[in-house]
Symmetry: C2
């Protein structure tokens, strides 16, 4: 029984990106120059996608931008610097500040997430694939916090041509019994692995992951397949917010009594 | 600006482990044979640690074992197969079934997590380090679900000699501004990367990660550093549970009124 041997490296020499840059072409040129091969998977930091796609707003409009990107507020945290909103954004991602980001941006500006990260991934995949003469996979990554654990990991917020969720439910384990609930979130594991070789703050925003060609699948669904719908999520709302909602519900249920008593 | 070049592979030919096996010695022997080098980081699946350490109980005692491993119930999900408890366990990890696992175990048994995964990691690190003639890092990994996202990723539940959380708060970004909240959860990213080359159900439970010797740190804290304390966690309790708690609090606050009205 052998396992894949994996190699990861970051693409070197990419420029600082600006609106209108042809990101797929620039990544494709670097890919050819630096030996990207068919079967490789590229993990591309969303920030350079946002910059090239012009998803830049004035820092003064940051709060309004977060509101605009928000579908649903999940939780809020008040801290000395202000209020952080953890929200479900229009991509279905639960993220602090809706994924609106102020680090490594032009002074006085903030970046919104790409409009359609799966489409951005598909465009990069097409350009790189054509340039290297074979299929590659592409994921678009962002850095996200999580419940219960300190720090952040990179996750896949877009993808094209790569299996992002490996649904093993129904497959037998080594003892021949069915593995009941295992579904490795490959997209997020690829993003996390890529982050180990990227230096996002230092001009190395694209990782190349070599050795997993079996994960390539032209028909693989996009990154929304990694989002758990709020209705299926035991943690769809922050603890404080859910507790407050419970109090409101209880007050509403007793509303007539209360009115009677107070009336 | 160059980035690390990362190589990952799984250790081959490890036996099926049983209670009393000298896991550190067995991994050390395989490490020498398969060319593990000083500076490498080993990601060891917790399941083989549990097996070697005899953390095996009868499947009939599964529910009681989960209760015993539980510090605090975080959420429960009722489904056709029964009730899944998501709990904070004695290691401070929030996990389904407290991390008690039935897959890839001897028929009729389930596995508990290692008693002290940091200590297990330290023992493996010492044995492998001595065998290969230099410092290595070791993490103990387990597979965990998460809020908001489908599927599971591997996370670090134990560690020795590796920096698991890279606290960049206070370091400048490429524009010279301070990165405000970035703290990559390296331990979890290493675990996720390792999972891409392991085949846990097929006898490949140890990944070797080469190319990040700068993450080695003999004084690095253990995996509890990756646990967010419930008091700091906006998602310390499931949404349904918090909502119910809110209703109870509201009823309690109105208790005297209610008694008065009903009395």
């Amino acid at each position: 029984m052998t396992s894949p041997r994996l190699t990861l490296f970051a693409l070197d020499g990419l420029p600082e990106f600006a609106p209108g840059d042809d990101l797929p072409a620039i990544i494709a040129a670097a890919s050819v120059q630096q030996g990207v091969e068919p079967g490789d998977i590229l993990a591309v930091t969303s920030k350079i996608v946002s910059k090239a796609e012009g998803r830049i707003v004035a820092a003064a409009d940051r709060e309004q931008s977060i509101t605009d990107e928000t579908v649903r507020v999940v939780a809020t945290r008040v801290h000395p610097g202000g209020v952080t909103r953890i929200v479900e954004n229009r991509l279905g991602l639960v993220m602090a500040a809706a994924g609106v980001d102020a680090s490594n941006t032009v002074e006085g500006t903030v970046l919104l997430l790409p409009l359609d990260p799966d489409a951005s991934a598909a465009a990069i995949r097409a350009a790189v694939g054509a340039a290297v003469g074979g299929e590659v996979g592409v994921i678009i990554t962002d850095t996200a916090g999580r419940a219960w654990r300190e720090g952040q990991t990179d996750i896949a917020i877009g993808g094209s041509g790569v299996r992002l969720l490996d649904d093993l439910r129904g497959q037998p384990d080594a003892q021949g019994r069915l593995l009941d609930v295992t579904a490795p979130a490959l997209g997020d594991e690829l993003a996390a692995a890529g982050d180990l070789v990227k230096r996002k703050a230092l001009g190395l925003p694209v990782a190349v992951i070599r050795g997993l060609p079996h994960l390539l699948d032209p028909a693989a669904p996009g990154a929304r397949s990694l989002n758990r719908a709020a209705v299926d999520d035991l943690f769809s709302l922050g603890t404080a917010e859910a507790r407050e909602e419970g109090r409101r519900l209880e007050r509403a249920a007793r509303g007539s009594d209360t009115d009677l008593r107070n009336g």
